[in-house]
Subunit: 199 residues, 2 copies
DNA sequence: TTTAGACTATTTGTATGAATTAGTCGAAAA
DNA sequence: TTTTCGACTAATTCATACAAATAGTCTAAA
């Protein structure tokens, strides 16, 4: 299920399309509400009819991107059977995806650097989603006897800590351009991490 | 061997003592060179005789703190025999230490938030040290048959990735006060991580 | 070799007014 | 009723100029 609120509305979609394009090109601050309105040929109040604040539009844009990532990861995970494989894919595709977004929205990375709160809400949502996925993978692994027996609090702790790890790695990958980690290296880390709970 | 340059000089030590106290209380920016000079009852040029810039003093202060941490970690590691235990201690004590420093130098955390480059150089030094320690632990583990056979490039990769993980976790722990991870949780993560290379 | 104290050049802070811009509102169009 | 417009406001940001603070230098002396 998608996290973002009903974007079904074609006008909401239009707003997000326009906003995404402008944010990509000019960043968050330099894109004014009037810019966005002009971009889609409407007036400012139309925007405010659909979104309460500029931040809300921004968050919707980010959520859309996160959703995309998530769908990609899910699709790739469906193609494999085992828990360790699923984990590796989740780990590498989410982290590699972060790097990608960092390049795509390069301007805007500097802004996040200065105002980390911009991503606070969306990242929290993302976190709880990832943690859930991690738990699911672990449970699947246990049922497939690929993972050692763990009680639910151990499962929860593992998911929490791995999520924390992913999140902190992700934020470094996003913010520091000199962190060049290949997908292979990420996969190695993922495998090592998962080996720790393997049977 | 200590990373910091010869602090043997009693006056250098005095400067660092004074600077540390002031940085702790007022942060980096609000502490002027004259403040430091006054604190130790000397004039500004005395400071510049021993250190080229204010940043250099700052880095020396940070290096001192890092050295302390390192010594503590080393001492604690000596008390145990096995590689997994050593790893757990290194992992938890360095990361818990980061949290401690964050509280001690609380003002200054905000400054690092805005000028991450302040810590760039020192963190690089720290990185290479930690990576080395990680390799050593792994090699010890292999010789003790606690760790599976790995060739040197695998060892290097493992050390690199674990170091990356520690670094990114550390920076989050340092910067975000709402990240409260207990030492037990850190230990759990350390153990999981190490299990991944265990025999 | 080390220190003091005056000196400079640069950075930082502040005050103020102008310009932008996020967000509101009432009326009109669809 | 739902959606849009354009004028409006209040708050924030920006530009400028001026004042203060401060990092770093230099010369002479201890």
């Amino acid at each position: 299920m998608s996290v973002s609120q009903n974007i079904k509305d074609p006008i909401r979609e239009e707003i997000l399309r326009g906003a995404t394009e402008l944010f990509e090109r000019y960043g968050f601050k330099k894109t004014t509400m009037e810019d966005i309105a002009r971009q889609i040929g409407k007036s400012k109040s139309a925007l405010y009819y659909y979104y309460k604040t500029k931040e809300e539009i921004f968050e919707a844009v980010v959520l859309q991107e996160i959703d995309k990532q998530r769908m990609e990861a899910s699709a790739a995970m469906k193609k494999v059977e085992t828990a360790p494989e699923k984990f590796r894919i989740l780990f590498t595709s989410l982290l590699a995806g972060v790097k990608e977004k960092a390049n795509k929205f390069s301007l805007f990375r500097a802004e996040v650097y200065e105002n980390p709160f911009l991503l606070n809400n969306t990242m929290k949502l993302r976190d709880s989603y990832v943690e859930e996925q991690l738990r699911d993978i672990l449970i699947l692994g246990i049922s497939r006897q690929e993972v050692k027996m763990m009680n639910s609090s151990e499962i929860g702790l593992w998911a929490k800590m791995v999520n924390l790890t992913m999140r902190s790695l992700g934020s470094k990958l996003f913010l520091e351009d000199d962190w060049n980690i290949s997908k292979e290296q990420l996969a190695f880390l993922a495998d090592t991490l998962f080996q720790g709970v393997a049977r």
